[in-house]
Symmetry: D2
Subunit: 483 residues, 4 copies
Amino acid sequence: MSLGKQYMERINDGRKVWLGNQAVGNVAHHPAFAATVHNIALLLDKQNEPDTRDQLTYRGDKSRANIAFLVPRSKEDLLRRHSALKFYADATFGMMDGLSQYARSLLTGHYANRHYSGIGHAYANKIESYYKFIKENDLLCTGAAHDPLRNDSQPPSRFDEASDPGLRIVRETEDGIIVSGARMAAANAPYVDEILVSFYDPRSREDKRHGYMFAVAANTPGVNIVCRESFVADEPDDHPVSARFEDMDTVIIFDDVLVPWERVFIKNNPEALLKIQRDPAAAALGQHQTVVRLLSNLEFIAAVGHALTSASDRKAFLHVQEIMGELIIQVETIKGLLIAAEHRSSPGNDNIWLPEELPLQMARNLGTRFYPRAIEILRQIGGDALLQSPAKLADFDGPIGHLLRQYYQGTDRSAIERTKLIKLAWDLVGSPPAVRRVLYEQFFWGDPVQAYANQYKDYPKKTLTDPVWNLVDTHSKQYKGPS
Amino acid sequence: MSLGKQYMERINDGRKVWLGNQAVGNVAHHPAFAATVHNIALLLDKQNEPDTRDQLTYRGDKSRANIAFLVPRSKEDLLRRHSALKFYADATFGMMDGLSQYARSLLTGHYANRHYSGIGHAYANKIESYYKFIKENDLLCTGAAHDPLRNDSQPPSRFDEASDPGLRIVRETEDGIIVSGARMAAANAPYVDEILVSFYDPRSREDKRHGYMFAVAANTPGVNIVCRESFVADEPDDHPVSARFEDMDTVIIFDDVLVPWERVFIKNNPEALLKIQRDPAAAALGQHQTVVRLLSNLEFIAAVGHALTSASDRKAFLHVQEIMGELIIQVETIKGLLIAAEHRSSPGNDNIWLPEELPLQMARNLGTRFYPRAIEILRQIGGDALLQSPAKLADFDGPIGHLLRQYYQGTDRSAIERTKLIKLAWDLVGSPPAVRRVLYEQFFWGDPVQAYANQYKDYPKKTLTDPVWNLVDTHSKQYKGPS
Amino acid sequence: MSLGKQYMERINDGRKVWLGNQAVGNVAHHPAFAATVHNIALLLDKQNEPDTRDQLTYRGDKSRANIAFLVPRSKEDLLRRHSALKFYADATFGMMDGLSQYARSLLTGHYANRHYSGIGHAYANKIESYYKFIKENDLLCTGAAHDPLRNDSQPPSRFDEASDPGLRIVRETEDGIIVSGARMAAANAPYVDEILVSFYDPRSREDKRHGYMFAVAANTPGVNIVCRESFVADEPDDHPVSARFEDMDTVIIFDDVLVPWERVFIKNNPEALLKIQRDPAAAALGQHQTVVRLLSNLEFIAAVGHALTSASDRKAFLHVQEIMGELIIQVETIKGLLIAAEHRSSPGNDNIWLPEELPLQMARNLGTRFYPRAIEILRQIGGDALLQSPAKLADFDGPIGHLLRQYYQGTDRSAIERTKLIKLAWDLVGSPPAVRRVLYEQFFWGDPVQAYANQYKDYPKKTLTDPVWNLVDTHSKQYKGPS
Amino acid sequence: MSLGKQYMERINDGRKVWLGNQAVGNVAHHPAFAATVHNIALLLDKQNEPDTRDQLTYRGDKSRANIAFLVPRSKEDLLRRHSALKFYADATFGMMDGLSQYARSLLTGHYANRHYSGIGHAYANKIESYYKFIKENDLLCTGAAHDPLRNDSQPPSRFDEASDPGLRIVRETEDGIIVSGARMAAANAPYVDEILVSFYDPRSREDKRHGYMFAVAANTPGVNIVCRESFVADEPDDHPVSARFEDMDTVIIFDDVLVPWERVFIKNNPEALLKIQRDPAAAALGQHQTVVRLLSNLEFIAAVGHALTSASDRKAFLHVQEIMGELIIQVETIKGLLIAAEHRSSPGNDNIWLPEELPLQMARNLGTRFYPRAIEILRQIGGDALLQSPAKLADFDGPIGHLLRQYYQGTDRSAIERTKLIKLAWDLVGSPPAVRRVLYEQFFWGDPVQAYANQYKDYPKKTLTDPVWNLVDTHSKQYKGPS
């Protein structure tokens, strides 16, 4: 049985996925999820196809594994990761992380660095077992890292234990911990195998109750996966992106869930959680994946922008060329930063070979502004022509098809091609998944204003400022002629 | 029978509306249109309701008529127009011009100014008859003013007559003209009674073929109303705006349509069309309506932004308050410009009392930037919380309703109220009608770069510059002490 | 003796003005101040010139006074104020408030509202006397309202009394109070007669020590006027603006200064100070002056932008026309808001006729962004041509004058005219006073981020939000067809 | 005699430098130029100082030469260039290219690529001789590449030969060509040895008259160096940047100048000029220098921003931290792109080792927006405190020095240090050289709108768009489930 088929059968496991007021049964057959699940399955199959197997997998101790699980030991390993991650990103136009390569990269980082985490042996052993379990079974994962009401201005401990809506350990038993509460922003939970739960917020530092990290299978009793409204569209001909991929946002409500001890990696230990958050291997590999995907996404927007410009008479306008130039600059800037990070990669603890974080941080910070701007540019290039297509491509075969063919023709394209292109552009600009992605890129690292502020606070500023203080302290003595 | 009912029966007239590859039958019963048609009908009924009759209508020669048809003869008349237009705009949150008050205002302007248009008696008489026909039957109208492939850089006459995809007169008969071709950007055509067709583009000046202005009923044989994809949403509880109003964009394809002579206002006369475009009464009344609607729209966005801010802990952040301040400034700036235009209103030809155009032009030019920015601000205020609501409000009555009530609570609102508010905000930010409206506001007056350039070119600059040239010519002589 | 002459003699009064490490003697003869003082004197003379006397003054009880002192009792009075304020603003291109009309307007407002201030009789009587003294002697004033290290994040009371660098009352005597400390941002102090001192910061509310308001003559013993670096330029031919007007910034250091009781308006009373800050008459008249001046300033920038565009081949570019359109929109938007404020003026306490504040607040908030943007636009229009002029206009009479005449010619201007125009543009874009003005417009109302946040916080939001909460609360019941 | 002294004597050569209406004599002693010349001399001396000699020079065939003349044959050579260029840039805070390393890098590129230019042997031989002459004598150069009235919208050939204000060959003699006309934007011409003249504008392609490239010594008879107004400031204590460096803009007016044949590299050959413009070695080396300098400049701005933030209480504000984050992101983005360009360097013709151009183009395109934005940020961080310093640092030693010491103290700095820092910040924000640099960075590559448009037009877009057209052509066949 193909990997894709196995996956589709595997996730039909009784999980509680809520979409509207009843539980979804088999997600693979539900209209809101079927297309996405099928496309994920197709991507999984690529691991065994002769053309792509070597690009997407590596030979581990026992068997081949997806490259997301590869602990890099050289720059070549990093570039292999890049190549595979780019393949998956391109397959979704960068619009979705179908195979959960981000969560897998984080886990691989935690595993690689487990002995240097400073958290202890028990943690290291449990992470090792879990990593091997995920890798060997080629499982998909997601993370869930926010409180239900994301609160930027107050610590989670503002609630007393009883009224705390956040996820907390309510008691311990011989078998494990019992947890209750809600967790936000778990992308794709309906389709993955495993949910990793932690609390990355630095504000949790005072707060023992939120100092945990554990994992549950998606079908664990008491785990409720609450979906937002479905954004899936019908007809891939009319909605080339949104009919194919739904990067579903969910809230996980834990209702007295038992987590067995071997899946409880950290407990009542906020300091350990800060170490997890700052784990250099997880951070570098996770961000590397993110930036590769961003590049893929921006390339696709620029490409559609160029196609749209070419198909219209507006290509002659300097101000249209200017904003197209901006799209090109976005793409090549992110690409350059990725090259710099990889070029300046270096071995860390235990010879784990990591990309330099600073250029990746730049790319992701630029990305929070580039992506919304890219979509704005696409909207400006398209203009109101984006709203003039016939309702469906099928209209071209209908009673007035001959009129549509005549009157929707483009400057360099047939009416059907032009209509397809415009529908694609609209799907990237005006569909709910399009707007969702803008929000996602802006808020992926938290409030973008705070993200920029953090970049400043964390930056090593001393060497930067030395020349200034030198100048301020000494400049009056410096001005004199040559000898 | 109520006005609304009459309307719903009236538009079931055999018109050819295409949505997907078959003709829609009765739009009032079609799922894509029913809600909008019902809401228009409700608005029409207001004209006869005792609370609103005097606000929305005026007593004409024979009977009451909608105030959009009132030719203002005093500042008070202008303010009456304002009041009624605001009522309708508020009823749709400024998201739709349900009763086609813009087109009606233009027509009223052309009628009022008909003897001063410089186009001639025949035109004046036909416009007068048509205006009275529309007014007395309280009909809804739309305009259609663009070529199919809106071409900013080349004149329509770049095509020879045979291959011209634009709408043109193909022959004349005793009964009238026969026209064929496509016309873009006819908003709401499926629900209106009448379609007004002209070609306002200044580039048509060289081009006799495009120098026409005429009107057709929506069900005229050969008139095809081609809709874009439907954006209507189900469940007004979950989609408070997009389940109620669909400001449908259409392309009208004329396939050998006979237009009787009494409906052909202008023919083969591009100069006359330029006069129509610059008709001071039509321009002033049309823009007055537009700015009243924009104000309503911006007020609603600011109100939702404030409600959202209040319901979240983020209200404590200065940078959130700053962008909320920006929304307030948008509202009050547009309001101030409207007040200025009305205050500086003055009588024109024949004592038609018109608002000053310049402040209205400012409002509309600011609007092309304010509205997209307002939506961006709403998106930033909402953040990723916009994507975490349960799929439907009905979920609160479902099996996990108790959990949702517990975990979706806001800082000052119950879980249900907060969810409703967030769904409203998302509907304004992330639904296809939301993005459509951003495009609409940006491109309503054509490419916004060109609109700004035109503002510069048309502005009387001489008095502005006189002091500069004085200074340049004389400043060397000017510098001397006091006597 | 002319008013200007009187003024020039009057300010030669022994005041301590520090510019570099020695006291300036007579400012009217000092190279840093002479030109500005002379230009102020010329402006003062206008009050007696037949062409302008009626525009600039009004007939008071005893004699004519400058219109800044007119308490408006009708809309006509407001328009008279507008006309006179505009005259003075235009005379300096809006770059300087030469006759301290802002401070005079504030004082007039405090006087007009003195009986309704809620501060008491003693205050009312002292303000009345002081207002009459200033008015009858036609004195120039400035205000000084900031602590030396403007501290946005902490209250002034963070210092204990001994180490407080801010201005504070150090003891009281029979004759008055003795004050010491520094006060920032006193514009034009070297040239004015009187300095008004208060502490408008709302954070002072907890802080009795900073709850004072008093006035001193500029030459009071112990008053040190510390100037920043002089920005005056030589040669008005080469620097049409910066050789004429220096809007000097100063810090006033009070070194054991005795303020007589009749000049101590408020003492140890922070609540009273908040009332002063919110005095509706002072706020409205002060902002009215500010917006009239801003309009004058933006008109001048737009005019220079247009002249520059016309003198260059770049006028053909759409993106140049677009940003010129933006300058026009700035001018007409501010003008529209001013009209709205005046049109919606209404009588307050005691029939004082005040412009509506909200449109003025909008104008000033827009102004904090419009002005920097206007200068940026002027820079973009000028481009690097701004840096290619000969060093001085006098060069045209020098040995290579014939070559300059040949090679600096513009498209529609002689080499000399074009050079003068470019030097004027550079003076508005690149001179220190030019950059100072950008800072001034941005920070006049405090940190612009906080100013926007305050606009939000102070705005009456309830009526705005009512429709939203209605919709959230009731929308599920609302959707139904027409009767 | 030191290199600096030699230089100072050498440029006292009778050149005709015009500043105001008389010729400057010895620039080294003229107040407008002395400081800059002395600082250049100091930099020249570094080539012989033991600490810096190896960093700044390389051993050529005969003797050591400045590294700007090094033709790179390996990545190490590129990094050597980087290191030396950074040293010089840091020495001027990136505000000036004191040793004309840009022009030298271009010349080195032309020399390196001379046999592959496709222009011919005569050109190759002349360039080789000239390069060796400049290198062996360690001369400073500048370029002059624009017509007097830079005309973006019309070709230079719009003038007939007689009225052409541009530089053109007026006749030929046995000894060489005779040229007359003006040439703009020659930076630093008063202090350099040599002026390289060409016409890089692609519009010159039709225009034989402008198809030349030649070099003249600065003191060639008939060469007039016309300076704009001097921006030099006195007192480096008060103006740490603008008292030291003046990047003087000049127009060169050629008045019947004889250029000997060996200095005429190209003549009447616009095609050759296009090849010169696109010379890959010159482009890559020139841009490499530019980006290294830009990095130095941005680092300095960020450092001053950080010092200013630290010295003020405003560091606690999130919105201040956000814009400081933006400065950090600017620095590290440009640094990353530089790393990428160097890492992806590769050997071209004749094993010349060149940085990849695309990342350098990104850096320079980002730079046209980053630099103005950086200065805007510095202005916002400084706020109106930038205008409150005492006129001169010397004031601290004057009669009220004790008061200044008390009242100008910062949160973490003494009054003197804080004042020095603020004066430095103002010098970068508000002095004429500060604004000049903003213009320079924006317009260095021509109108920035056109520069972005060119980036789009020149970019290889085909591979980008292939996936889009694939999707448009085939996507209807693609949607099917896994096997």
